[in-house]
Subunit: 102 residues, 2 copies
């Protein structure tokens, strides 16, 4: 498994735009188990993204998907910087009855 | 929505025990959308827990579930401290076809 937890700083007042751009990439990425986008509850410009992938390669491959490239292009103008980013090794998501892994 | 991202420091050499204890709480918590447990890839004692709940109340209610109380009791002896914890407002998980929310 391969994971990331990043704190992305939006340009002032543009957090919603950034989150919408990030959300547009998060559906249908093969090998992805979690792509959670969350606003910091106390810092108005900070967005947290928690990712869990079945492999580093699956994450790497996602970066060349057209939808992901478009989302990154939409996000870039409203990113002021990256406050932090850590690599992790997540536990696999518990099997959810009735779901099929893509 | 209500979320948490926490960095929990295990007592030296006990990270696997801590992660197993945390994992034992993570199944079947009403109102929970994400409970991701991940080992820091570079710090051998650090565990990251990312949580997403449909409400603060759902999270609060989970703390009185027997399985959660047991898990916390199992985890407590191998917790050395909390490096950080932030509250977040996550985006809801995109509808996953074929899953039923509890």
């Amino acid at each position: 498994m391969y994971g990331l937890i990043g704190a992305i700083r939006a340009t002032a007042g543009d957090r919603d735009t950034l989150m919408a751009a990030l959300a547009s990439r998060s559906v249908g990425m093969p090998g992805n188990e979690v792509y959670l986008i969350a606003a910091d509850a106390n810092d108005p410009d900070l967005v947290w993204v928690t990712e869990s992938w079945r492999s580093r390669e699956a994450h790497q491959a996602s970066l060349s998907l057209p939808a992901v490239r478009e989302a990154i292009a939409r996000a870039r103008p409203v990113i002021a910087g990256f406050d932090s980013q850590v690599e992790t090794v997540p536990l696999p998501a518990p099997e959810t009855p009735g779901t099929q892994r893509i």
